[in-house]
């Protein structure tokens, strides 16, 4: 009860804090009605290979987001009037986007290198254990051990070693980082890859040969989040049940997720009312739902950056002129209209439009085949060249996009071979940079910052796995590094602009269309909030009173 009150208070504080341009009568992220006890049946596209950070798919994210429920802080939901939907306030600058989750308050030392978080009392896991600093400490130590996503976070957060997370008292978590990091809080707000775990429970499952309970945690969850994974039959179904100790109490007490691999079947099930929610449909299918009186599509512009990536390990792709020519030859409108039925947004910069400082002004490219041919000839390929474009076969929209690209490229003499790959092979060859070029829509920057985005995707290929196109531009490298340690202000803004300009000049990525965050549900559901993770958060959902 006390916890509930506290949470309500923090929400009220939030409403006050964000009360400027986006102050709205609609409240976002409110506690759902306490009198509802609902079951939600979902149609998932695939079953997660594991519910731990070793795996890396949309479904894993989804389950982890709902069972671990995020880290010490979280993004603040605000109301986006033009889309009539709640979403993280990513258009704010830096720390203003963030509010507490497990932490009720926090402090940053003057040098910016020490961060202390005060935990709320009485946060309990499904197993009934109260959250203490030890859980955080254990989770970070495990992250260093796992060398997976959480480990990646430590690098970006500038956290050096497990010992840099300390517990001055059981309800205080302290981080010591190498250098000032203006993005520290935002990074933390996005982190639910790997915890925080209920270490008391997890340790029970550890064995001598498996001290971090890797095996058990692959198919089980031990978090403080709103849900607990009750049942997992790979390839068949997942059942989530409410964490009885989670406050405020979610209205959805049970989520039954059935695995239905075929998107058209998911659609059919939703249309027939056999499921409440269908995950990962295609735009055409969302269109059908919009025309259905009993269903709704929740839309938020979101942060997706589908792009065409010339991989610069290939000498032809390494030529700036060639990349520019391809940018001129890209069928932007066809992709927007035929694949996304005009529903998406054209992307014209590395920073998603809903993120701060995003500008389209540097991006000169539009579909102009004559110009493309000219630029291509100037780059030394008047007769074109042979190009292989890879894509993930599991994402059918990418196949359609690539087919359209192929049609246009062949008109300027680039002979295209499409290579649809199984997801695993695709990501293998992508991250080992064995492809010549790819179409990709699996990228969305978690942190609303140009520096972060450019750094992760387009710089330092020797350390950045995510830089799958092997872009290695000295200027960009320098700029992103500088932005990491530069506090908010005019200087940082200048860097921000230059990065966006440089990316438009050099075209390491050719931006396509952002389809936005789309979720398809029965009409009676409400309480949606978009977070930069692009997941649906079941704990906020409830049924509208009719």
């Amino acid at each position: 009860m006390l916890a509930l009150l506290r949470y309500a208070a923090s929400l009220a504080a939030l409403a006050l804090a964000s009360g400027t341009a986006y102050a709205q009568s609609v409240e976002c992220g409110n506690a759902p009605p306490a009198d509802q006890d609902l079951t939600l049946v979902a149609a998932y596209a695939a079953s997660p290979p594991a519910v731990d950070e070793v795996a890396f798919t949309m479904e894993v994210e989804n389950i982890m987001a709902n069972t671990y429920g995020g880290d010490l802080v979280q993004y603040k939901p605000v109301y986006w009037a033009e889309h009539k939907v709640c979403g993280a306030g990513t258009n704010q600058e830096g720390p203003k986007q963030v509010t507490g989750r497990w932490a009720e308050s926090w402090t940053e030392s003057a040098d910016g290198k020490t961060w202390s978080f005060k935990l709320r009392r009485g946060i309990k896991s499904y197993f009934g254990n109260e959250m203490t600093c030890a859980d955080h400490q254990w989770s970070w130590a495990r992250g260093f051990e796992m060398k997976a996503v959480k480990f990646f976070f430590t690098k970006v957060m500038l956290l050096d070693k497990p010992e840099d997370v300390t517990c001055p008292d059981p309800y205080t978590v302290q981080f010591k980082i190498k250098d000032r990091n203006p993005l520290f809080l935002q990074l933390l707000a996005m982190n639910y890859y790997g915890g925080p775990f209920d270490s008391t429970e997890a340790k029970k499952r550890a064995t001598a040969s498996d001290p971090w309970a890797k095996e058990w945690l692959k198919n089980n969850t031990a978090g403080f989040g709103p849900y607990h994974l009750e049942k997992h039959v790979p390839g068949e179904e997942l059942v989530l049940v409410r964490n009885p100790n989670f406050q405020p109490r979610p209205a959805v007490g049970r989520v039954i997720a059935k695995i239905v691999p075929d998107s058209a079947t998911r659609l059919a099930l939703l249309k027939r009312g056999q499921v409440d929610y269908a995950m990962r449909l295609r735009q055409r299918e969302y269109n059908e739902i919009e025309s259905d009186a009993n269903l709704q599509v929740i839309y938020h512009p979101a942060n997706f950056i589908p792009y065409f990536g010339p991989v610069q390990t290939n000498p032809i792709m390494a030529k700036q002129g060639v990349r520019q020519a391809m940018a001129w030859a890209m069928p932007y409108n066809d992709i927007l209209n035929k694949v996304y039925f005009g529903k998406g947004l054209p992307i014209k910069t590395i920073t998603p439009a809903i993120y701060p400082n995003s500008t389209e002004k540097f991006w000169p490219y539009k579909e102009d085949l004559a110009k493309a041919k000219e630029v291509l000839a100037a780059a030394g390929y008047p007769n074109g060249f042979d190009l292989t474009i890879s894509y993930d076969k599991a994402i059918s929209e990418m196949e359609e996009v690539c087919t359209l690209i192929k049609s246009n490229f062949e008109k300027i003499g680039i002979r295209v071979q499409l290579q649809g790959l199984p997801s695993a092979v695709y990501s293998d060859t992508k991250f080992t940079r064995k492809q010549m070029a790819h179409c990709d829509n699996f990228q969305w920057p978690w942190v609303a910052d140009t520096g972060y985005t450019a750094w992760v995707y387009l710089t330092h290929p020797e350390v950045n796995v995510m830089n799958a196109v092997k872009n290695d531009d000295p200027e960009l490298n320098k700029l992103t590094e500088a932005m990491f340690v530069t506090g908010f202000g005019a200087e940082r803004l200048k860097m921000d602009m230059r990065i966006q300009e440089r990316v438009a000049e050099d075209v390491p990525w050719i931006f396509l269309v952002n389809p936005g965050w789309r979720e398809a549900l029965k009409k009676e559901w409400a309480g949606f909030v978009w977070f930069p993770d692009n997941n649906i958060h079941f704990e906020l959902l409830y049924k509208k009173k009719s």
């Binding site: 790979p234 059935k258 239905v260 056999q274």
Partner: protein, 338 residues
């Protein structure tokens, strides 16, 4: 007496199995080595560091020479360990155990109906070689073999689910909201019947209709055609002619013929079962059946090599067992086999 003979024969045939299995495993092992890409990545995910990759490689034994890997592999198989599926993070054996009943249920009904319809129809058309039914059967036999099963399934779904709403959609073995019957045999219909779980029985049966009908439609012609030609041959044979000359009634003549047509019918039933295991792959995929076939496809699409090799190995064992059974049935029917 004959049971002793049967036992001897069966044990001799069984003794061949391990040798065959060894060869089969070798083929599968060699196949797996053909795989493009590094399976390690699938375990580590894209963020993994070099050390982590090396560690996983070591864990998987991928750093050892090929022959050592083969021996290890054989050892593991001997212990029933087919490794972990990268896609489900479960032991492959557990995956198979879960999915096998689904496929078996499908194949079982498909075989039963193919035989129940195909054999009588084949016998009938052999005995009465004229008429509309015969003509129809001929056209059916010609066309059914030519149609792709997966396409037929899609069309059937379009008509009976999408347009007519007569049958449930391709969502697997049971309606999403009906809980599965208690696991006894793994076959939902059987288990539901045994436990008196009528809603589950109704749902499972409804879900079976389209996939089984597809398989039966596409593959029954195999049984039908072979029964008919075996029966025709037997009806033309000297001993049936002689039975007729000796004044045996028609029915007895047909029984003589059918008795002798049994070996080819049994063979073709074996072949059908064997074929259905392959045929089920695509049909399962279309119906999201969650069986072995769909598992195989998902394994291929996701380069889940441990899973794929287990499926391939299992399918070979399944084949051998089927043909062993066929041989034993032959042995029981035909006194000429020693």
């Amino acid at each position: 007496m004959s049971s002793v003979r049967l036992l001897k024969y069966a044990s001799r045939r069984l003794a061949l199995l391990p040798v065959q299995l060894l060869l089969v495993s070798l083929i599968v092992f060699v196949l797996v080595r053909q795989m493009p890409g590094d399976p390690t990545f699938l375990y580590t995910g894209p963020f993994a560091t070099t050390e982590r990759v090396a560690e996983v490689r070591k864990q998987l034994g991928l750093d050892e020479p090929t022959y050592v890997q083969y021996v290890r592999y054989l050892e593991r198989i001997a212990y029933g360990d087919f490794g972990l599926s990268m896609r489900t993070s479960q032991p492959v054996v557990a995956d198979l155990r879960q999915r096998l009943p689904a496929t078996m249920e499908l194949i079982l009904y498909a075989v039963v109906f193919s035989v129940l319809i195909g054999v009588p129809l084949g016998v009938y058309t052999a005995i009465r070689s004229k008429g509309a039914l015969n003509r129809g059967v001929f056209v059916y036999g010609m066309t059914s073999g030519a149609l792709p099963d997966f396409w037929f399934a899609l069309v059937a779904i379009f008509i009976f689910f999408y347009k007519l709403h007569w049958l449930p959609g391709p969502i697997g073995r049971i309606d999403l909201l009906i809980s599965k019957p208690q696991n006894i045999s793994g076959l939902y219909t059987v288990d539901a019947l045994l436990t008196g779980n009528w809603p589950a029985l109704a749902s499972a049966s409804g879900q079976l209709v389209l996939p089984v009908a597809t398989l039966v439609f596409i593959y029954m012609s195999l049984v039908l055609k072979n029964t008919r030609s075996a029966m025709e041959d037997m009806l033309r044979s000297e001993f049936v002619t002689y039975a007729r000359a000796a004044g045996l009634p028609r029915l007895m003549q047909w029984r003589y013929a059918l008795r002798n047509a049994m070996p080819p019918i049994i063979t073709v039933t074996g072949i059908l079962t064997w074929f259905l295991l392959g045929g089920a792959v695509l049909v399962e995929t279309v119906f999201a059946w969650g069986g072995l076939g769909q598992y195989a496809v998902q394994s291929v699409v996701n380069s889940d090599y441990a899973a794929l090799q287990a499926v391939v190995l299992f399918s070979a064992v399944f084949t051998m067992v089927i043909f062993l059974l066929v041989d034993l049935a032959y042995f029981l029917i035909d006194p000429r086999i020693k």
